[in-house]
Each structure stands twice: as C-alpha cells, then as structure tokens.
C-alpha cells in the first residue's frame, strides 16, 4: 500500500519537475518582449474602451502611442488634456493642448416644431426607419427620434426627451467619444468645441432643401436665407446647399447671427440673458430660440 502511494508521488513529482524545466526553456525561447511603457500608458488611460480615439480600445491606443513615438493626431477624448499631459510626461513627449469637444444635436425638429404627419409603427431603430422613409414630420434630414444615439452612448450622456421627441446631451457626462455621431444614420450629431464658459453657438438644422420645402416640414429649419452670413463680421458662417454652418474656430460668440435668423434655427447655449436695449434695437424675437438640447 505504502509503495503505491510512494510510487505515485515520485512519478508525479518527476513529471512535474520535467515539465517545469521544459516549460522554463520554452518560455525563454518564445518570450514576447513587450514595451513596459504600454502598461504604464494604459494605466493612465480611463479604461472606458469607448473607441473615441479611433482604436479598438485603451490597450490598442496605448500600443499605438508607444509605437508612434509622438502624440500627433493621437488624443483620448475621455481622459482629455490631463491624461494626455501625463502620458507625455511618462514618455518624454510633448502633448498638444486640445480644446475639449462635446456632442451637439443639430436638429430642433421637436414634436411642436416639426409636427408629425404620419405615424410610424415599425421597429424602433433609426437605422431601419432611415432606410424606409423620410420621417414622421416629412423632413428627410431631421431627427427620427427612435434613439439609436441613446443606445450607442456608453457614458449616460444622452436621453430621449419624451416631450420634444429629441435626444438631449447631458453636458457633464459627454466625453465626445464620437459614438453617437457614428450611430446616427442621418449624421445629425457633430462634435464641437465646448467653448469658453461652455458657451456655444451653432445652427440647429442640417436640412439642405430650399427654404420653402424645408419650412413646410419644420418651423425652425434653416432656410438658407444667408442673413447670418452677411451679419457675421468674422467670416465664421458659410452657406452651402441652402444650409448655414458656423465654424466654431472662427466664431467669436458675438451672437449677432442668432438675432437676425428668421426661423430661430441658430442656437445659443449657456449665455447670460441679453440686455434689453440690444433686443429692441434690432427688433429680434423677444423669446430666445427654443433650444431642445442642453449640449
């Protein structure tokens, strides 16, 4: 009896030791030498694996940074400037200070502004509805309101407002990871600079139709009248395909364009209320443009 146990122990230990020796040499032979800096960089990154940098995840991004040897065109929107500065310090590189971005919904076709004309009862996904038809309001560019963007957001920065039927960006949560921009089949979201004191001004419409058909479907559509282009002193506004676009890098946030817009399609966010004198002088609507989004 003793003999059997002893034999078993000796045999197993023998196999174990031989295997260990073999494995040791194999491990030495096929060792993968990995840059230890990759682990360090990955530890600094937020670990959200959101793909906002354009890579498959934080690990892939860390590998890319270490391999590239510079930080040009590499940016983690979630970690922001602090994370990038820290990475630069670790790697002995220089990080360019980037202006933080935020997602902006360029549509204000809410249930009151763009009244639904037909009723949709298909599957609740924008991707399908976009292929199928132009939308409940008839605007072929506007928000379909079925929430593919909300589903795509990993940071709880979007929710659907039941009253307006439009998604709302929660400023504090949005990290500009680009997921909603990619998810929207109509390309309504845009990443724009957060702006000084979070102040932003943008055209809340992407309708490229001429004025009359655009206005027919939505009261707050950009009709391409060009008034804002003339008003802007900084050449920040361009009019392409009947649609005005405000270049955030040229815009000085003077807000004059919003006053002349006949359809209130230029949105201003987080600005203090206007002085009354100015309002009277240019005879603008007393109510500021109804803004559906927070961000």
């Amino acid at each position: 009896m003793d003999n059997i146990i002893l034999n078993a122990v000796i045999a197993l230990s023998g196999i174990g030791v031989t295997a260990a020796v073999v494995l040791y040499f194999v491990a030495q032979k096929f060792k993968v030498i990995e840059d230890p800096r990759i682990d360090v960089v990955e530890a600094i990154l937020p670990g959200a694996n959101c793909g906002g940098c354009g890579f498959a995840g934080c690990r892939a991004f860390a590998e890319a940074i270490v391999a590239a040897g510079n930080l040009d065109n590499l940016n983690c929107p979630v970690g922001g400037n602090t994370a990038m500065a820290e990475i630069a310090k670790v790697l002995g590189l220089e990080a360019e200070e980037k202006e933080p971005l935020i997602a902006v919904l360029r549509c204000n076709g809410s249930l009151t502004n763009a009244k639904p004309k037909v009723k949709y009862d298909g599957p609740l996904t924008c991707a399908f509805a976009h292929n199928l038809y132009s939308g409940e309001s008839g605007c072929p560019f506007g928000c379909l309101g079925l929430g593919d963007c909300v589903d795509s957001c990993k940071f709880d920065a979007l929710y659907m407002d039941k009253a307006t039927g439009l998604p709302v960006v929660i400023q504090d949560n949005c990290v500009a990871c680009n997921a909603c921009v990619k998810a929207c089949p109509r390309g309504i979201f845009e990443l724009r600079p957060k702006g000084k004191k979070d102040r932003r001004i943008y055209v809340g419409c992407i309708n490229e139709e001429k004025g009359a058909p655009a206005k027919k479907n939505c009261e707050v559509a950009c009709i391409g009248c060009g008034k804002c282009v003339k008003e802007c002193q900084f050449d920040a506004i361009t009019l392409i395909n009947n649609l005005a676009y405000i270049d955030p890098y040229k815009c000085k946030l003077c807000r004059k364009c919003a006053l002349v817009c006949p359809t209130n399609s230029i949105h201003e966010l987080n600005f203090p209320p206007r002085k009354e004198k100015l309002v009277e002088k240019v005879d603008a609507p007393t109510e500021p443009a109804p803004v559906a989004t927070e961000g």
């Binding site: 037909v118 298909g122 599957p123 399908f128 292929n131 038809y133 132009s134 008839g138 072929p140």
Partner: protein, 445 residues
C-alpha cells in the same frame, strides 16, 4: 390534377381580389404630371428637356445614363413647368419633370390605333434596341430594365422564356385584368421576346385562382407556336422569380446567382404587353394598369393611368379619400410599402394602391420569439428568418452573411406567419442593406 408549385415554404394569405371584375378604366389626364427621373432600378435618367419646352405624348424627355438605366418619355402633351424635386413614395425627394398638361397629341410615328399588329417585322437586335429606346422596364415591381435581361452573355444558353401572370399578391388584379382584356397582345409580346432571346419555348404561369384568365389565354395560345399556359397552385410567393422557375421547370436558381443560370428568363405579363406596344406600335412605356382597392376604398377599380399621375388623383376617381384611412400602401399588402404622402406620383413600377382602414392597419403587438419555427417552414428560400432577425440587432454581419441573408427575397411570409407578431422582415431588410454595403466594398477592394 396536381397543380405545379414550388416545394419550399410559402403561405396562403386571404386573396381578397375584390377588384377582379372591374374592367380597365381609362383615367382622364390630370392637370399636372410629375414624372420622376428614377422610375427604374439603376442610375436615374438624365433630363433632356428644359423649363418652358413643349412636349408631345411619347416624346423622349430623359435619356438613360450608364448600363443599368432606362429612357423616360413624356406621358402627356404639354409644357415643362420645371424640373425640380418631388416627394417620392418613401417621402424622400427625387428629381422629376413637372408637366402642365394640354390636349393629348401623340408624337409622330406612334401607332395609337386599337388594331392588333400581328406580324413581327423587326430582327432580334432591332427588337432589343427598340425595347431599350422605349424605356421598357419590368412591370412586376422591381422595374429592372428589360433590354438588359434580353442581352444574354456569351456562353449562356436560354431554354425557356417564362411569362409571369401569377399575381400572388393579395388584392392586386392589374395583371389579371390585363390578361383578360389584352390577352392576344400579351402573347404577341411573348413571341417578340422569344424571338429576341432565340428560344422556342415559352411558358405562361398563372395561379389557379384566375380560371378565366387561364382559359382565355389557353384558347389564344392555339394560334401561337411554342407558348403554353400552366395553372399553378395558389400559394404565396408563387410569383417570385425563383419560385416560378422552380414550379415550372423544377430548376433551382443557385444562391447569389441570376435566374439566367437555370436557362430561364422571367418577364411579367405587363412587361410582355409593354414590349408588344413598344415593338409593334412604337409606343413608349408611359402608362400602366393600377389597381385601386382595399377595405377602406370606396370603389374598387383598375385604372389605366399615365406615369406621373399623382396618387391622390387616382384615389379621387375611386370615390375619394376615405375618412377611416389607416394606411395607404403602394403595391400589395405583403410586399408593398406604406406611403408617406398621397402627393407622390405613379411610376412604371406601381401595380396597385391599397387603402387599409385604421382597424386593419395596426401591427400586432410584438411578443417574444417562442421558437415555434413557423417562419422557417414558411420561408420560400429555406432561410431561418428568426435567426437573421436576431443577428442584425447584434451587428453580427458576418454571421448574417454566412446564414445567406442576401438570398432573402423580402416576400414577408415570415412576418405574416409569426404568431408573436415579430417584425422579422424589417430587421432582415436592415441587415441586407448593411451586408450588401459590406459586400460591395469588399468587391471594390
């Protein structure tokens, strides 16, 4: 007698062919016509008229661009008001020629007499050229340019021409009434197509629920060489190209291949009639038979209308817009698409308008899949619709492609049969769109 049919799947929705008895009614010209430049599969045609030009009925107004494209002719006499965007049947904007109509004057050289022209004078090449010039496209709904179907690649042998008079969609009767009233013309058109293809056998497939059409055409075929009429079992989608080939010849179209591979070319009866008009009468495709029906419709009718007529004009002539209209569908209830606006014009591919009352138009509430596999037994292509519809929301495009999502013919049998009311076809359509894009980019690379 055992009727021929396809083996796999199929469903039997209520036929509801209420407008079957209504004779073809010529609709008076409306004041305005909107002729879209994209009425066919492929590249939109390019307009060759300008604002203010006078056009005659049958005059070429838009030329085909590229290989897969078709000419478009003026459906009426009048003035070109403008060339602008018009809402199409999906609600998106498409370029169209707006024509203010006047009294009908046909372009010279078009035979508008009611006499039947029996002798085929043109040669094979001339026929194909004429079909191309006259803008004939498949009238079954897919609107594939017919002349391209006639051009058989070298090395391929065609044995059969199949004429599709099945009309398996519930409600629609436009092909049925065309067979009854224009039977001889259809058979002459068939002979023309046979000559163009160089085949000596043609089969006309008709579902057994149209015994009058079967009897009528069978009697007429006595005068024609090589054309036979076959009664087919009433089963949806018997009129699908692949299902019809299977039923009549027993051959199966390989996955991802064209029906050409089986030595068959399939054309609709409407197309055969359009070919007759184009070749024998020199008449371009500018009008078609459209069924207006449905349980909400005040009157069930088969109208002969000019292409570009607004849909609301047809409804007006069928007793007006019903108050309890729930859904307005272009085509039949199985494959048709709900319209966004009645302003959209009739195109070469519009076979019918279905007016559904609100009570019918509602979709069933969506419940969970109970794995009953009825969608699998209903699928005429032998797919697993429940699986495909599950893969698509998960973005599993590779798996969807491996499960042959591109073979789906979008007949809607799975959605029809599902006891849980799941929108299976909707998700498969979405998947087909995505997978199709992936395949196209792969081919380009």
């Amino acid at each position: 007698m055992i009727l021929k049919t396809f083996k796999l799947g199929g469903v039997h929705p209520p036929e509801n062919k209420v407008s079957a008895g209504a004779a073809i009614q010529h609709l008076p010209l409306p004041d305005k016509l909107f002729v879209p430049l994209s009425q066919h599969l492929g590249t939109p045609a390019k307009a060759i008229v300008n604002r203010g030009d006078d056009v005659k009925t049958g005059q070429l107004i838009a030329k085909s661009v590229g290989f897969i494209s078709a000419n478009i002719h003026s459906p009426a006499t009048g003035k070109v008001a403008k060339i602008d965007q018009i809402i199409d049947q999906t609600g998106y904007k498409r370029t169209a020629v707006f024509i203010d109509t006047q009294e009908d004057v046909w372009e010279e050289g078009i035979d508008t007499s009611p006499d039947i022209e029996r002798t085929i004078k043109l040669s094979k090449e001339e026929i194909i050229q004429r079909i191309n010039d006259m803008g004939v496209v498949g009238m079954g709904g897919a609107t594939f340019p017919t002349h391209i179907k006639m051009m058989i690649p070298e090395g391929k042998q065609i044995q059969y021409l199949i004429i599709n008079g099945v009309e398996c969609e519930p409600y629609l009767t436009s092909d049925h009434i065309l067979m009854m009233e224009k039977g001889e013309e259809i058979l002459i058109g068939t002979s023309i197509l046979m000559k163009a293809l160089g085949v000596d056998k043609a089969m006309v497939g008709i579902e057994a629920n149209k015994p009058d059409a079967i009897a009528h055409l069978t009697k007429l075929t006595e005068k024609f060489q090589g054309i036979t009429v076959h009664a087919l079992k009433v089963k949806y989608p018997q009129g699908g190209e692949k299902q019809l080939i299977k039923a009549l010849t027993g051959r199966e179209v390989p996955s991802g291949k064209l029906p050409l591979e089986t030595g068959c070319v399939v054309d609709n009866v409407g197309t055969a009639y359009a070919v007759y008009e184009a070749v024998q009468k020199n008449k371009p495709l500018i009008q078609r038979v459209v069924t207006v029906t449905g349980n909400a419709a005040r009157k069930h009718a088969n109208f002969l209308v000019r292409v570009g007529t607004p849909i609301e004009y047809l409804i007006e002539h069928a007793g007006g817009m019903p108050a309890d209209l729930g859904k307005l569908i272009s085509g039949g209830p199985m494959m048709g698409k709900a319209l966004v606006s009645p302003e959209a014009p009739i195109t070469k591919g519009s076979s019918g308008l279905l007016l559904m009352p609100e009570t019918e138009a509602k979709r069933a509430p969506i419940k969970n899949c109970i794995r009953c596999a009825r969608c699998i037994s209903a699928c005429p292509m032998g797919l697993e619709p429940f699986l495909l519809a599950q893969l698509v929301p998960l973005d599993k495009w590779d798996d969807a492609e491996a499960n042959r999502i591109m073979d789906c013919i979008e007949c809607g049998s799975c959605h029809y049969i599902c006891p849980s009311g799941r929108p299976l076809l909707d998700f498969i359509r979405l998947g087909k769109d995505k997978v199709g894009k992936i395949i196209r980019t792969r081919v380009k690379q």
